[in-house]
């Protein structure tokens, strides 16, 4: 990496991406950086358990080439807390009971974090639509949507 290149940041820490063109971002995060909170559920970008934020955009890291993240800002579940505290999205999920087995939960936290950064006051339909790329088999989604809505003050109730 030449010194003028923008550093790749993972949870605020500068990292050097290793791996070839076939290495996924998920594999880099888990196997090289030991960030095990990002989960692999399907390896084809369908379930969303591997969702991380790249420049604040939710992406499925299981089908995202690690090298394509070069010079970008990556946030994983390990980086969303605020100091020793859970983030607002995390606290809300705990409070509404939107967590069961928890395997999909990091992906939901990342997607909702990205959504609320872009649209701080979504309505319930917008929340549900933003979750179209995240599968949860346990909860039936309602308590997850309610968690996001507890942080939102939409103009019109839906």
């Amino acid at each position: 990496m030449s010194p003028v290149e923008t550093p790749t940041l993972v949870n605020g820490r500068s990292v050097a991406i290793n791996g070839d063109g076939t290495t996924t971002l998920l594999s880099f995060l888990r196997d090289s950086l030991g960030l095990m909170g990002t989960k692999e559920g399907c390896s084809e970008g369908e379930c969303g358990a591997c969702t991380v934020l790249i420049d604040s955009q939710p992406v499925t890291s299981c089908i995202y080439p690690a090298l394509a993240a070069q010079g970008r800002t990556i946030e994983t579940i390990e980086g969303v807390h605020e100091g020793a505290d859970l983030s607002p999205v995390q606290k809300a999920l705990v409070a509404t009971g939107g967590i069961q087995c928890g395997f999909c939960t990091p992906g939901f936290v990342m997607t909702l974090t990205g959504l609320l950064r872009k649209e701080p006051n979504p309505n319930a339909d917008e929340v549900a639509e933003s979750l179209a790329g995240n599968l949860c088999r346990c909860t039936g989604y309602s308590q997850i949507v309610e968690a996001a809505m507890s942080l939102s003050e939409p103009e019109e109730e839906t």
Partner: protein, 760 residues
């Protein structure tokens, strides 16, 4: 403040929402190697060539194993049929044929692809072919007569040829009553498979040292894995230690062993820890999904519209090997009447071997389609008689003292009527019917469900700092049975905060037997064991505290983590002080208890092949759905969904809500989204790209009312909660869609094509 009935957050919520929980797939062991399986690419055939010569010399490859190397054993949950690897023939697509162990997963995968496999393929037997029970149909297991039940030959059950289990109940006079009937109504329901689709695919790590195996896995039922590994390897169960990790969903799909026996064998053969992990397609193709089935039902009616006799015939697809399904073939007997008064009823259920992946338990098991069949039929009868569908149900509801077809007298049956009445408070039937627009429909149904009675055990340890450890191999599959239920029960007993109670991970070396997270049993059974153990531990604490406070043990009480003397507010000592004093005087405070539901009386002469004879700790339920159908696209929208559920006692209402909401979502998935079709014995849907799970936009917020009719044996009255709310979903949605389109729905799932075809 009591913790019982309190919606506190689950104790593992922070860990899970922070991504810190260690699931089965997150476990690694230094020095481990990676296994990968060669699975049959075809459903049925003879292995003509299996040459590993090229594969063994591939980079990183340590070992390759085929049936030629395997122990000469047969294993199975009920009936011992299976080898580790297919021998001469393959019986389903995905059946293990060989395993490669290599330094990396990629190297193992590459070597699997380099194995030279040739199979002479034959047409497989599917459910329709098996149902004909024609002597000309190929046998899935030509050697079926040599198979032995695990519990010994004297426990063998009715089975023949491709029928792995048959349960028959044929009371007197059924045919006579049908002949004399004023009216006979007949229906049929076809139900397809449903994949559990937990988000964490299966994996396992096995180690071998000094004659013993240690298995790390995220199993719902670690003792079952222990027993299956022992069977496959031909060793004693005590030579296998299974250590459980956080489970990324199970829903019944992680009750039996899957990769563990092969990983254990490879660990022994290589001398290294071996990890095997399914990719999603392997997982889908080989998971013991909810079985497909065909249910035929007919009822004789008299001039007053009473159901004077019934016949229910159920043909269930067992897949190539039988697992738990042999027991589940008894279920049609218990559900054939539904929750209604019906005369003599003939029930025959047959579980057929086919050349498809073995089926198994999925939340609600056969209850989902059996209640769909029975409750669709109730609508048919009411419609034929011109009686309101809800009213007809209420007029014939089971009442106190009525029995199931096994002769079991149901307790507190009047709760059924309560459930229908409370349901009407949420979604009033008459008003909703009047308000219906075009292509809108309503469905209603009721059911009885069991709480799994199988044994469990818990040990309660009071630590010297006043915290409590519960040692058990019960598993929390995500339901909150441990992180809410047992935690709150034990915390309540000791008057401590929930975070002061720690529950260990499962370890079959350490704890008594536990029957796994199935049938909503954990809070009820293990909660009761933990409650009893807590009482025993408290007795020990009170003895010691009485000595410290110079009082009578009978006068001791725990309040807010302190032990005090009744009537003497100043005379108190903390739990920790007592536990520490005890440790250094009489020894540490530890108490254990076991529990299993007492046997339920029934009539053993009611049927042959009744392996799962009763419905213990019954609960009662009524559901209602309002749907709208798009006549152009055939899409179904579930507008409202309402549940009235008997829970005994809700230990944690927010947790109970999560179980109801989640179960209904899975039921909606099964009924209108999740197509798992079998064509020429192969699944058409093979990944989460085309196996369509419900999304957040598909699922309404379920409206519910809890009926708290406490069970005399359950902890604080708790009965099973998590399984029953799925059992009526297909029934009420199929009824609602039929109502919306004015044509009967006879298949689950109901696809848009089915809707358009029914509309004509």
């Amino acid at each position: 403040m009591t913790l019982i009935g309190n919606s506190i957050p689950r104790t593992d919520a922070v860990e899970k929402v922070s991504g810190k929980s260690v699931y089965g797939v997150d476990v690694g062991v230094l020095g481990m190697l990676h296994g990968c399986l060669l699975r049959s690419p075809v459903p049925c055939g003879t292995i003509a060539r299996l040459d590993t010569t090229a594969a063994i010399s591939m980079p990183g490859v340590r070992y390759i194993c085929t049936s030629a190397d395997q122990p000469d054993t047969r294993a199975g949950w009920v009936l011992c049929e299976q080898h580790l690897f297919a021998t001469e023939c393959v019986r389903y697509e995905g059946e293990p044929i060989a395993a490669v162990v290599a330094d990396s997963r990629e190297q193992a995968r590459a070597a699997v692809n380099a194995i030279d496999l040739q199979i002479e393929e034959r047409p497989g037997v599917d459910l329709i072919a098996a149902m004909a029970d024609d002597p000309a149909t190929d046998l899935v297991h030509p050697e079926w007569e040599t198979y032995q039940p695990l519990a010994g030959p004297e426990t063998d059950h009715p089975r023949h040829r491709n029928v792995a289990a048959q349960m028959s109940s044929d009371p007197d006079d059924v045919d006579l009553i049908f002949e004399q009937a004023d009216l006979v109504v007949e229906d049929e329901l076809i139900s397809h498979r449903q994949y559990q689709a937990y988000i964490e695919p299966k994996s396992a790590i096995a180690m071998f040292a000094d004659g013993r195996y240690t298995i790390h896995t995220a199993s719902q039922y670690p003792f079952n894995v222990r027993d299956r590994v022992a069977q496959f390897l031909g060793i004693r169960p005590s030579n296998v230690r299974v250590v459980g990790h956080t489970i990324g969903g199970g829903f019944g799909g992680k009750l039996d062993a899957a990769l563990e026996p092969i990983a254990a064998f490879m660990a022994k053969q290589t001398g290294h820890p071996v990890r095997i992990a399914n990719d999603r397609t392997e997982d889908l193709l080989t998971c013991p999904s909810r079985e497909n089935a065909v249910v035929k039902i007919r009822t004789a009616l008299d001039a007053d519209g009473r159901m004077t006799a019934r016949e229910l015939l159920c043909d269930m697809d067992n897949g190539a090997y039988s697992a738990e399904s042999i027991w589940l073939a008894s279920l049609p007997l218990h559900l054939a009447k539904g929750v209604y008064q019906v005369g003599p009823t003939r029930v025959i259920s047959r579980l057929h071997y086919t050349n498809t992946a073995p089926t198994g338990a999925f939340r609600g098991v056969g209850g989902t389609y059996l209640y769909a069949a029975v409750e669709r039929h109730m609508d048919s009868i009411a419609d034929t008689l011109g009686i309101d569908r809800r009213q007809y149900r209420l007029d014939h509801l089971l009442d106190t003292g009525d029995t199931l077809l096994n002769g079991q007298v149901l307790e507190n049956t009047s709760t059924l009527k309560t459930a229908f009445e409370r349901l009407d408070e949420i979604l009033p039937w008459d008003e909703a019917n009047k308000a219906k627009g075009p292509y809108e429909g309503l469905g209603i149904a009721g059911c009885v469900w069991l709480t799994n009675p199988m044994p469990g055990q818990a040990t309660v340890k009071v630590n010297e700092d006043g915290t409590i450890t519960v040692i058990t191999s019960a598993t929390d599959n995500g339901s909150g049975a441990l992180a809410m239920g047992i935690t709150q029960i034990v915390a309540e007993e000791f008057g401590v905060a929930p975070e002061e109670v720690h529950i260990t991970s499962p370890d079959t070396d350490v704890t008594g037997y536990d029957s796994g997270s199935q049938g909503s049993r954990t809070t009820h059974i293990v909660g009761r064991a933990a409650l009893d153990a807590s009482h025993k531990a408290k007795e020990q604490l009170f003895e010691v505290a009485a000595g410290m406070l110079e009082a009578n043990p009978a006068d001791m009480r725990i309040v807010d983590g302190e032990i005090g003397v009744v009537g003497a507010p100043g005379s108190r000592v903390s739990l920790g002080e007592v536990a520490a004093t005890a440790t250094w005087t009489i020894g540490p405070i530890v108490a254990a208890a076991s529990y299993t539901t007492p046997p339920v009386d029934f009539n053993p002469a009611c049927a042959s092949g009744l392996l799962f004879p009763t419905m213990p700790t019954p609960t009662y339920h009524a559901h209602m759905a309002a749907v709208e159908v798009d006549p152009i696209t055939g899409q179904i929208e579930v507008q409202r969904y309402a549940v009235a559920q008997d829970v005994g006692r809700a230990i944690n209402p927010i947790g109970v809500r999560g179980q109801i909401q989640g179960a209904v979502a899975q039921g909606i998935g099964h009924t209108i989204y999740e197509s798992l079709q079998i064509q020429e014995c192969r699944y058409l849907e093979r990944s989460l790209e085309n196996y369509r799970l419900p999304l957040a936009i598909d699922i309404p917020t379920v409206e519910f009312v809890l009926i708290e009719d406490p069970d005399s044996e359950g902890p604080y009255g708790a009965k099973g909660v998590a399984e029953p709310p799925i059992t009526l979903v297909s029934a009420v949605i199929a009824n609602a869609v039929s109502d919306a389109i004015g044509a009967p729905i006879t298949k689950i799932p109901i696809t848009p094509e089915d809707v358009l075809e029914a509309l004509g």
